[in-house]
């Protein structure tokens, strides 16, 4: 039997955000690996900057204005991490089943992703408007921006690997329904 796991609202939120995130990550890595002189790659720099605006606005707007009850319920559950759920991480290799829609690992992933987005947005904005700030502050923000991007790279690699391992879940996030 097939049941709905993600409604269109939730899927649009996931994929619009995921695509922009990966885009920012790839253009960011490109900038990180090449000298950033004025002759360096102004196009990539601009594509990174302008992608950062929908990157913040789209999920924000979807969350605020969409009528998707599924999506709101999903977010609500993902935000409801209880301290007793820590236990799950120690039993991770035992593949403990949970009777909630998302397991504690997914909840932590969601929360850390949220922190990363805000951190990348704040540090990215300082770096963007660097002529307003002191040199030391800008340099610190560059390091923070890079470091957060590195954590994202790790987190997303894990996320994609796990989703490939639980391949039925991909059907869910792409088409909405999963086999039970």
């Amino acid at each position: 039997m097939k049941i709905i796991r993600f409604d269109p609202g939730a899927r649009v939120l996931h994929w619009s955000h995921a695509i922009l995130f990966l885009w920012l990550l790839l253009t960011g890595i490109h900038m990180f690996l090449t000298p950033k002189s004025l002759l360096g790659d102004p196009l990539i720099k601009m594509l990174h900057l302008y992608a950062s605006i929908p990157f913040i606005l789209i999920p924000g707007a979807l969350y605020l204005f969409s009528h998707s009850i599924y999506m709101r319920n999903d977010i609500r559950e993902l935000m409801s991490f209880k301290s007793y759920e820590m236990k799950w991480f120690f039993e991770f290799l035992k593949n403990t089943r949970v009777n909630t829609k998302f397991n504690p690992g997914q909840k932590v992933n969601f929360f850390v992703t949220l922190l990363l987005i805000i951190g990348l947005f704040l540090s990215g904005s300082v770096v963007w408007m660097k002529s307003l700030f002191s040199v030391d502050f800008v340099e610190l923000n560059f390091m923070v921006h890079d470091f957060l991007a590195e954590i994202s790279l790790l987190l997303i690699s894990g996320h994609i690997l796990l989703s490939l391992y639980h391949s039925e879940s991909i059907r869910g996030i792409v088409y909405g329904k999963v086999e039970v």
Binding site: P35, L38, S80, V127, L140, F142
Partner: protein, 214 residues
Amino acid sequence: MNQEKEPGSIKEYISRRKFLIYLGIFLGIIIAGLSFLKKAGIKTINRFRIRSIEQTPAFDPDTWKLIVDGLVATPLSISYKDLLELESKEQVTDFHCVEGWSVDEVKWKGVSLNVLFKKAGLKPDAVFATFYSSSGLYNDSLSIKEALEQDVLLAYMMYDEPLPPENGGPLRLVMPRMFGYKNVKWVNKITIKETQDIGYWERYGYKIDGVSYP
């Protein structure tokens, strides 16, 4: 189909204050950790990234010369050997790049410009100095007043070793207060002028003051 209840506000599950506290802790740990690592001199963070618009020039200590000309009483042509015998000084200063990275506490040794300017004797209308890299492609300038600031140096040693070629060896300008593009590498000519030359990167939009971001 729609059996799920309309959820309440997200604030029922995590208060805004709690979220901000988590965010603060998360960013705080990262900022403190990175600052600590940089101070601890961890090599991958506190290091030079090599930037240049030209190939690293070859250096022959027997034929190399430093020229000081323009508005001076006695134009100079100093060999590498003579340069090392001039009055020298050592300093530990930070190096900042306009790209947004820096290297803390670099130890330099070299000759202060005061020594050269005295030797050459500046004429009364001397106001600016242009520093040329040996290829002739790259140059940048300082006012004489800036060139005579405390920490400004023509460095031939870095971290107690002869200045490595990719860092500007045999001789580079060190102006710690300004971004790296003002710290001309492979200097072999200094010309004293009445008006200021626009440096290589300044022609493409970098600021001539060397301290504000473009």
